[in-house]
């Protein structure tokens, strides 16, 4: 569904250079620190900036050539970009109806707003952060989009609202096959629950692309003392970082080390830890 080939964009202190593909029916999490290039990738996919070079194809077409009908198949949320906060939900509904005509499901939208206790006649500026986040997601899901691009949809929200939002998204994905989602988040536990595939990005470059199950089941963090470290098999170590106790080593062959080094403390690698080691540790 989405194909990014050698996408390059240079700013004075930053260079984006990445390639990846997302198929239909895939949920992909884009993880990276602030300023790592996630939003630049999103803006490039949406044709909101011109890359220096590279190709981006969505629905088999260059993104700059997508027709309005094809753009109707895209649903988007941004953390700090939305309709004017002076509008009410009722007014936004009128705009969406006129924009998407028959594709906008007013009854579903009304029902979701009701379920989520979103006041339809109050200006959006009076909404809490959580309410705004819910509204953004409900709007992105209101027109049967096949391709969802969600930039930090759970940013700044408490755990209850985050769960609610992830629940809405999961229901939407369960309703129909071949829906594709690319989602970025600082909160990796959200992505672990939802995503089939994780892309780690740092300083404009992809440092890891892996299936979530693989990442959670086969990756591990070895906690090794300085004395043990030299005798450790290095072939399966992806990155190492110095710690007070010695070294933390990232491996994608956790079982190998569990079998061959039973004395070592070996932890499951969470997305956060993997990211931290790959970005701050020394790559092998």
């Amino acid at each position: 569904m989405l194909e990014i080939k050698n996408l390059k964009k240079t700013y004075p202190h930053f260079q984006l250079d990445c390639s990846f593909t997302i198929g239909a029916d895939q949920v992909v999490g884009l993880v990276g620190r602030n300023g790592s290039g996630k939003t630049t990738i999103f803006r490039s996919i949406l044709d909101l900036l011109r890359p220096d070079s590279g190709e981006i194809h969505l629905f088999g077409k260059p993104v700059s050539q997508l027709s309005e009908a094809e753009r109707e198949r895209i649903g988007v949320t941004f953390p700090n970009s939305f309709f004017s906060e002076q509008f009410t939900i009722n007014e936004i509904k009128q705009i969406m109806t006129a924009t998407y005509s028959t594709k906008f499901h007013m009854a579903d939208f009304d029902q979701r707003c009701y379920q989520l206790n979103l006041p339809v006649d109050q200006k959006v500026k009076n909404f809490s952060t959580g309410m705004q986040a819910k509204l953004k997601l409900v709007l992105a899901l209101s027109h049967e989009a096949d391709f969802l691009l969600l930039d930090e949809p759970t940013s700044g929200l408490d755990v209850i609202v985050r769960k609610e939002i992830l629940g809405i998204l999961q229901d939407y994905l369960d309703q129909k096959k071949d829906r594709c989602v690319i989602i970025s988040s600082h909160i990796s536990s959200d992505l672990e629950q939802l995503c089939d595939f994780i892309i780690l990005i740092d300083d404009g470059k992809i440092i890891l692309q892996e299936e979530t199950d693989n990442l959670l089941n086969h990756y591990g963090i070895l906690k090794v003392s300085a004395e043990e470290y030299p005798s450790l098999e290095q072939a399966f170590i992806l990155a190492t970082a110095k710690r007070k106790y010695g070294y933390a080593c990232l491996t994608k062959e956790r079982t190998y080390y569990q079998d061959n080094y039973p004395q070592l403390a070996i932890e499951k690698g969470s997305i956060d830890e993997v990211l931290q080691l790959l970005t701050k540790g020394e790559e092998q």
Binding site: R50, E68, R71, S81, F83
Partner: protein
């Protein structure tokens, strides 16, 4: 494009009080300034128009809103065209409204003015202001609302200086007086139609060029 129209109509609806007050001010200008009030009234209308029309752009640009808006099924080209059509349409509405107000007032006050006399003045002021608003809108699309406010003040100052220079030239120089007399004679001989046509042609050229430039700007700029 239908969604954009609905959005802007909702924005305009929020500013209906400004339009009502402008109508009142336009009537007041006719009461206080007599026939000179026709152009003053239209200037008030046009100033309100610039405020309302540019506000619809500001509404879109607030909180990085343009970025979200352009993720909807809206082509950048259509966004710009719709904004320019809105400006032209709003100006035409105000020209018609001011012409009706002045026509009615002229009848009540027994001024005995011809429709063409009223219309040419209102249309001329409307066209001049439209050009200023169009150029400001072009600047605002590229640079955002804050810089556009400064730009509009500068454009307004330049226009005031140009008008002042023209008045001075007509009053105090021979060549200025000659040109003005020739234009006046031309107006007496041929009526207001050539002037309306001239304003229209200049307006179309400015609007067309500016619209094309704005489309190119929006298509190449980074939307934030």
């Amino acid at each position: 494009m239908k969604g954009l129209w609905v959005k802007d109509l909702l924005v305009l609806k929020k500013q209906k009080l400004a339009v009502f007050l402008t109508c009142m001010l336009a009537i007041c200008s006719l009461v206080f300034f007599g026939q000179n009030g026709i152009m003053i009234g239209m200037a008030i209308f046009s100033a309100t128009l610039s405020f309302i029309a540019l506000n619809s752009l500001t509404f879109d640009q607030q909180n990085h809103g343009l970025m979200y808006l352009l993720t909807l099924p809206i082509q950048k080209k259509h966004y710009v065209i719709q904004k320019y059509l809105l400006l032209v349409f709003a100006t035409l509405c105000f020209v018609v409204l001011m012409t009706i107000i002045t026509g009615v007032f002229s009848e009540i006050a027994h001024w005995g003015l011809h429709f063409s006399y009223i219309f040419t003045r209102i249309y001329g002021v409307g066209a001049a202001f439209l050009i200023i608003v169009i150029l400001t809108a072009q600047y605002q699309i590229k640079n955002g609302p804050e810089k556009a406010q400064v730009a509009m003040s500068i454009i307004g100052a330049i226009v005031a200086i140009v008008i002042g220079a023209i008045v001075t030239a007509v009053k105090y120089t021979e060549w200025g007086n000659t040109i003005f007399n020739k234009m006046y004679t031309y107006y007496i001989d041929y009526g207001s139609l050539p002037f309306v046509v001239l304003f229209t042609i200049v307006g179309i050229i400015v609007i067309g060029t500016s619209c094309k430039t704005s489309i190119r700007t929006l298509e190449t700029m980074e939307i934030q």
